[in-house]
């Protein structure tokens, strides 16, 4: 069995043994979904709004779950470093990539499970996915890679700071990105200039767009292409940063 699969399995098993590390994040995602949908759904009555407000706000719940859940990968690495198990793993022939990416992928898998749960709750609340079951699956896939991107960032910060609190705080620094976008109302209703600029340069905007197109308007190759390109690019960047941090920190001969 591949070393990376073994280490993903180990991280998943450990996460399930500490449900307190997962449950708050799920609760916050569901809370966002209920509160924003309940409080702001009249936005859907504005002229020109396409689809349901539930379909519009669900990506906010998903992306915030990714930011909150990403910390798990960083926390796992920091605990391993603190208790010496990280070094024990480095003393095996295991690839360094597996040692770093194992917790990252496990973190993204847990996030994906959360997203599926939140989406089923949304279905129970009346969500109709415009792109059908395939669209549902693509939203989940997009969420997985967005989770990988944040997990890579969390792992990078963990390896750089070697401090649990600092690594967690660093992931929360990304929360403003959720709100510096067309978070609660569609683009055409935003008139504030600086927010438009922020939303344009904010990669989160393109993830929202891709998910919203699948949920509310159907298949849109342009939104999906940009959304996936941004997500995969971000995930590749942070994954490489995490590996680079591991290489620099361990001084391990290849």
């Amino acid at each position: 069995m591949s070393d990376i699969l073994l280490l993903i399995g180990r991280s998943l098993r450990n996460a399930l043994r500490q449900p307190a590390t997962i449950i708050p994040n799920i609760a916050i995602s569901v809370f966002f979904l209920f509160v924003y949908n309940g409080g702001l759904n009249s936005v859907a009555k504005l002229p020109g709004f396409q689809g349901s407000y539930l379909g519009f706000i669900l990506p906010v719940s998903i992306v915030s779950a990714a930011v909150g859940g990403a910390g798990l990968a960083g926390q796992t690495l920091i605990k391993d470093i603190d208790n010496g198990y990280f070094t024990k793993l480095l003393l095996t022939p295991t690839r360094r990539l597996a040692v770093i990416w194992g917790p990252m992928i496990a973190s993204a898998i847990i996030l994906t499970a959360q997203v599926v749960l939140v989406m089923f709750i949304a279905l129970l609340m009346g969500l109709k996915v415009a792109a059908g079951p395939g669209g549902f699956v693509l939203v989940v896939v997009l969420a997985f890679f967005w989770g990988m991107a944040f997990a890579g960032y969390a792992a990078f910060m963990a390896l750089k700071t070697k401090n649990a609190a600092a690594a967690q705080a660093a992931t929360f620094a990304f929360f403003p990105l959720i709100f510096l976008s067309y978070t609660f109302v569609p683009k055409q209703y935003v008139t504030t200039g600086w927010l438009k600029v922020a939303a344009t340069i904010n990669p989160t905007t393109y993830v929202f767009d891709a998910m919203r197109s699948l949920l509310n308007t159907g298949w849109d190759a342009s939104s999906l292409g940009i959304g996936f390109a941004v997500t995969l690019g971000f995930a590749t960047l942070t994954g490489a940063m995490a590996l680079w941090a591991a290489r620099g920190a361990t001084k391990l001969a290849s």
Binding site: R13, G84, F86, T87, L91, T92, P93, K162
Partner: protein, 357 residues
């Protein structure tokens, strides 16, 4: 470099050096350890023992020099080195959320064993280290210090290593656990022909286990040989004089210069080295009487590694401790146990940070 035919069990180093900032933690170490030996590396905290182990086990790159382990270059063939060695570092490396079996099975699988092979290996190793009767659901985080160290040793053995590195394997253990580890180390060496590279700050441990000893001080090897060879270098017999006051010991040290040129003072004691001690005792007593120094006790004994250590480093090494059951609570450090150089200690502390990301 030794040829590697899959059975190479040697360790070599040439001019190995590692600095942290301007401070050399390992300073020009040369080694040639033949296969199948127990090699003891003795030194106080901060002497460079752990840094050397980290270089030889591929965790840390040297600043200069080269080293081979099992015939493989530690810098260029790190993966091959790691396949051939087992390592139990000074700080145990366990995931507290996993059980002993889970840790052993995972570690075996990471070394390429199948699931079934790994499970069988785990059971055998639990018996080997005496943890087979522990509740299988008990997680490593709930183990005592001694149990954690035994489990850590088992993890170092999952790949049937040709060379085993043990970095202070009994520090902080109670005497019974310590003897258990010694017996296991001896068995691994005798039955499996494993080369054991053992660092320790306990003289008794080095004396009882090692075929050959190197003493390291401030990053340099200052003495090397079998325990008997090293002891013979300081003399055949030792007369230890005990005094009530340190000042009296210091006065005696000066007063006995003509009778015992080879001597050392440490605290309340003065140790004098002779070919045949008994012949010199009457003259010693008369000299002390004449100088008005009151002797409290006198014993004649064989030289110990402590004498060797004191002679080559100018400081006493840690003595055996009794009843230290907590793995995290090491013995108190007497004067002279640390390197005695604040800059060096600070740099070595930083080194630990750097190695363990």
């Amino acid at each position: 470099m030794a040829e590697h035919d899959g059975e190479d069990r040697t360790i070599t180093a040439e001019g190995l050096r590692r600095t942290f900032g301007a401070v050399p933690a390992v300073d020009g170490v040369d080694l040639h350890i033949p296969g199948g030996r127990i090699f003891g590396f003795l030194g106080p905290n901060g002497a460079g023992k752990s840094t050397l182990v980290k270089i030889l086990t591929t965790i840390l790159d040297p600043t200069a020099g080269k080293a081979t382990v099992a015939g493989y270059d530690v810098q260029r063939q790190g993966g091959k080195v790691r396949e051939a060695i087992g390592v139990a570092l000074q700080d145990v490396g366990l995931d507290p959320l996993m059980t002993a079996r889970e840790l052993l099975v995972l570690q075996s699988q990471l070394f390429g064993k199948s699931g079934e092979e790994a499970r069988q290996k785990a059971e055998r190793l639990l018996v080997t280290v005496g943890l087979d009767d522990v509740d299988p659901k008990k997680r490593a985080g709930a183990y005592s210090g001694g149990m954690k160290r035994r489990l850590d040793l088992a993890l170092a053995l999952v790949n049937d290593p040709r060379i085993l590195f043990l970095d202070e394997p009994t520090t902080g253990l109670d005497p019974a656990s310590r003897v258990g580890i010694w017996e296991e180390v001896r068995r691994l060496n005798e039955e499996l022909g494993m080369t054991i590279f053992l660092t320790t700050q306990y003289l008794e441990e080095a004396d009882r286990l090692a075929d050959e000893i190197a003493i390291i001080d401030k990053g340099k090897i200052v003495a090397r040989g079998t325990p008997d060879e090293l002891k013979r270098e300081v003399g055949d017999e030792v007369v230890e004089l005990q005094f009530a006051q340190c000042e009296e010991a210091a006065q005696a040290y000066d007063a006995l210069a003509g009778i015992a040129p080879n001597r050392q003072a440490s605290g309340h004691d003065v140790r004098l080295y002779f070919g045949r001690a008994a012949e010199n005792v009457p003259e010693l007593v008369r000299a002390l009487d004449g100088a008005g120094i009151r002797l409290q006790g006198l014993t004649i004994e064989q030289p110990s590694l402590d004498d060797v250590f004191l002679r080559v480093t100018g400081q006493a090494l840690e003595h055996e401790v009794d009843g230290a059951g907590d793995a995290t609570a090491g013995p108190p450090a007497p004067d002279g146990l640390a390197s005695g150089e604040p800059a060096r200690d600070a740099a070595l502390a930083a080194a630990n940070e750097e190695v363990t990301p």
